[in-house]
């Protein structure tokens, strides 16, 4: 079924469009990793069985899609064309949902989304605050197509940007458009994409390579996972356009090994694209030949760094190298190599289809377009959000995120993963863009946004990130390897109540040495979480060091737990989770924690249904 020309592709598209029955009901079940973990595959099967049982196969079809983004509410199911959104769908609820939605043409109230603030049910997806404020361009296909079906992608205008490019544009024109759009790298570097393409194109070398960086290693970030799982063809189309523009015939997609579903869906997409002649020799009958290979990561965060990633593709340990000579000039096997992040590639077909002005009409002066963020932590609505650059932190966290869970107080938001910093309350109204976040000592990074409330200890957060990096440092250069080790030692002492008066100054000096002296950005940006927490939460460090106190009630050595006898209902849940059997009491009578045995793990605090456990 190879398509031998652009005309044939368009003929296929038209045929698929004409075959589509607009009156048909479609049930979209989310098949992203999050919902799958919650059993959405079984839910999908239940829907298929019910459709069969009710004999409505002719008018109802089911599609398993990529990640819808609202992961905490999964399994998610959307009925279109009605646009009715169901959350936390169980296998048992399926028959009633089908009955109410399809047959009775109304909806099943119980499984609708309920706004945690207004307590009202919202029937339609477009009205849910989480989705209403989003501008879903890159995530446009997620939730609407079956990622394992290439026809579904073509039906939604997929590969039309490629058609446009192959019939009406020259390579330099394409680069012009990308430059004009103002697209900046979405993986963390924020480098102008068009400029990178141009450098790679002009560089000397017999061959040129294209790479898609899918090694999303920032803890708390899953944007790229969702795009690779849910819209693999979007990434592939972007890469083919890039290959044509830059003059490459070989591409790699490097996917971290912790994303098996992304690998699976990408492999299927590549196979299908090859079958249609959209990858391989003479794409759509044109002189362009380009193919893609998938490389799985080996479990190393540092391989997200471009030179380390390339070293890994070449079959070595992922150690970065000095980039005084850019990888766009000498990358894979010393040839010009263009590396871009998953989200960056996914933006390319949209920019080509809709034009650079469409893209740059949204965003701020120097940060155009949208950005996908993973909004996680202490927010009510946890999930993936895509918003225009320039929206404020407050709008993202409160309007879309619904505010802090249990209506606790907002404390900080961590952006940019281990390379970023913690931003306090006074900056909630800053517009989110590359430069504004950098000014505050943080960075956009890949888009992780971790919201923290009053129960988070900022020293513990700093220690957490340094501990993460100590394990992930490649160990090649002194400042990073030894610096991280020493930072961890100092921060650990502080959290244990063994901090010394000179510790803060030492951390600041060491941080400075690492920023300027490290070989790559892992070591170079590692001090950011430490330095921003010192800058904005110095009082917490001082409390730990001078008073041996943890104001947030987190650091194990500095807290003590007790049970409020007036609140305790004697349900014994705490006693059951206590791993050292430190809690005693009779059934339905107030319980007591034995301070000598208590290891202060806070398990009892987490399970108590009446908040009777007090931390001091």
């Amino acid at each position: 079924m190879r398509l031998e020309s652009v005309t044939q592709l368009e003929e296929l598209r038209n045929r698929l469009l004409s075959e589509r029955d607009p009156s048909k009901n479609t049930i979209f079940v989310c098949g992203g990793t999050g919902c799958l973990s919650n059993g959405s595959a079984l839910v999908a099967e239940a829907f298929r069985d019910e459709i069969s049982a009710q004999n409505i196969d002719a008018s109802v079809e089911l599609k398993m899609t990529g990640c819808h983004g609202f992961c905490e509410r999964g399994p998610l199911v959307v009925f279109r064309p009605q646009g009715i959104f169901y959350q936390k769908v169980t296998v048992k609820s399926v028959p009633e949902i089908v009955k109410k939605t399809i047959i009775e043409k109304t909806h099943h109230e119980q499984y609708l989304y309920k706004d945690p603030n207004t307590k009202e049910s919202v029937t339609h997806e477009a009205d849910i605050p989480f989705y209403k404020h989003q501008v879903r361009w890159v995530l446009g296909h997620n939730g609407k197509i079956d990622p394992t079906n290439i026809d579904g992608y073509i039906l939604e205008n997929g590969y039309s940007a490629l058609s446009k490019v192959l019939t009406t544009m020259q390579p330099d024109e394409i680069i012009d458009q990308i430059e004009k759009s103002g697209l900046r790298g979405r993986g963390g570097g924020g480098f102008l994409t068009g400029r990178k393409w141009r450098t790679t194109k002009k560089a000397e070398g017999e061959v040129r390579y294209i790479i898609c960086n899918g090694d999303e290693g920032d803890p708390g970030a899953f944007m790229d996972r969702s795009i690779m799982e849910g819209d693999p063809h979007g990434v592939i189309e972007g890469m083919i356009i890039g290959a044509y523009a830059i003059g490459s015939s070989k591409g790699y997609i490097y996917v971290r090994m912790e994303y098996p579903l992304a690998v699976k869906n990408l492999l299927k997409a590549i196979e299908d694209a090859r079958a249609y002649g959209l990858l391989g020799k003479n794409i759509l009958g044109t002189p362009l030949s380009f193919d893609i290979e998938i490389n799985r990561g080996g479990g190393a965060f540092v391989c997200g760094e471009s030179s380390a990633l390339m070293t890994s593709i070449m079959g070595k340990a992922g150690e970065p190298r000095a980039k005084y000579i850019h990888t766009s000039e000498k990358g894979l096997w010393d040839m010009p190599t263009n590396l871009n992040n998953v989200e960056t590639w996914a933006n390319v077909p949209l920019i080509i289809s809709n034009g650079p002005d469409w893209f740059s009409s949204v965003g701020t002066q120097n940060s155009k377009g949208t950005k996908v963020f993973s909004l996680v932590g202490s927010v009510k609505n946890v999930g993936l959000v895509e918003v225009p650059m320039g929206l404020t932190l407050r709008e993202i966290i409160f309007d879309i995120g619904g505010g802090i869970i249990k209506d606790r107080k907002f404390k900080a938001v961590q952006t940019g993963g281990p390379s970023g910093g913690c931003i306090p309350e006074q900056y909630l109204d800053i517009p989110v863009d590359f430069d504004e976040l950098s000014k505050l000592g943080s960075m956009m990074g890949s888009g992780g946004m971790i919201v923290m409330d009053e129960n988070t200890c900022m020293v513990d957060v700093a220690r957490y990130f340094i501990n993460f990096l100590v394990d992930e440092s490649c160990g090649k250069c002194t400042p990073c390897r030894e610096g991280l080790r020493q930072m961890l030692t100092i921060l650990t002492r502080i959290t244990k109540g063994e901090g010394r008066a000179e510790d803060i100054k030492i951390l600041e000096d060491l941080g400075d040495g690492m920023i300027w002296g490290s070989l790559c950005a892992l070591g170079g940006s590692a001090p950011n979480p430490v330095l921003t927490t010192i800058q904005y939460f110095r009082n917490e460090y001082e409390a730990h060091i001078e008073k041996k106190q943890c104001p947030a009630g987190v650091c194990t050595e500095l807290i003590s737990l007790s049970i409020n006898p007036d609140a305790c209902i004697g349900c014994r849940r705490c006693a059951k989770v206590c791993s050292v059997s430190a809690i005693a009491g009779e059934n339905k009578k107030p319980h007591v924690i034995d301070q000598k045995l208590c290891i202060r793990c806070r398990a009892c605090y987490e399970v108590c249904p009446v908040d009777a456990v007090i931390i001091t």
């Binding site: 973990s37 290693g217 708390g220 970030a221 098996p260 990561g297 080996g298 190393a300 971790i450 806070r602």
Partner: protein
């Protein structure tokens, strides 16, 4: 734990063949070897070195650099507790400690009966379900200490 005295070299040769003897694909070959044998046997490294003409030192570095590989056999089931930021904030460490107690070992170790290996990992990308535990390919979200035994029981039979 008993490490077998010799391995089936034909499996290694097949893997080398699959990647067309391309030395730059040695990491992919090692991934297949890890899946096949549940660890990277020393003899496999020697065999790869001979077949691909790259030094054993280089392969050994790769095998010890990437967390995907282990030099000692991993258990039948791999229990991975996510310690990503979102999971950490929602008590990931406590869950990890809980598994250590239930399996009577420390993270990174394998049970004497070779049934379970416990690992802590850095973010599996399912942050909305924090704290998350992955056993083989299955994810268990919103994990609690109370659920640990229930999860392990499924694999104990």
């Amino acid at each position: 734990m008993e490490i077998p005295m010799t391995i089936d070299f034909s499996k290694v040769d097949q893997i080398v063949q699959k990647y067309e003897h391309n030395a730059s694909k040695v990491i992919l070959m090692l991934q297949d070897i890890q899946t096949e044998f549940r660890y990277i046997p020393q003899e496999a490294v020697t065999r790869l070195s001979e077949n691909l003409r790259i030094s054993e030192s280089q392969i050994f570095h790769i095998a010890t650099f990437y967390k995907a590989f282990s030099l000692t056999p991993r258990g039948e089931h791999e229990v991975r507790v996510c310690l990503g930021t979102a999971c950490h904030i929602r008590g990931g460490k406590r869950i990890s400690d809980g598994f250590e107690r239930s399996l009577n070992l420390k993270a990174g170790e394998t049970t004497p009966d070779a049934k379970f290996t416990l690992e802590t990992v850095n973010c599996l990308g399912a942050c909305a379900l924090a704290p998350l535990v992955q056993v083989d390919e299955e994810n268990y979200g919103k994990m609690t200490i109370e659920k640990i035994e229930t999860v392990l029981k499924q694999y104990r039979k």
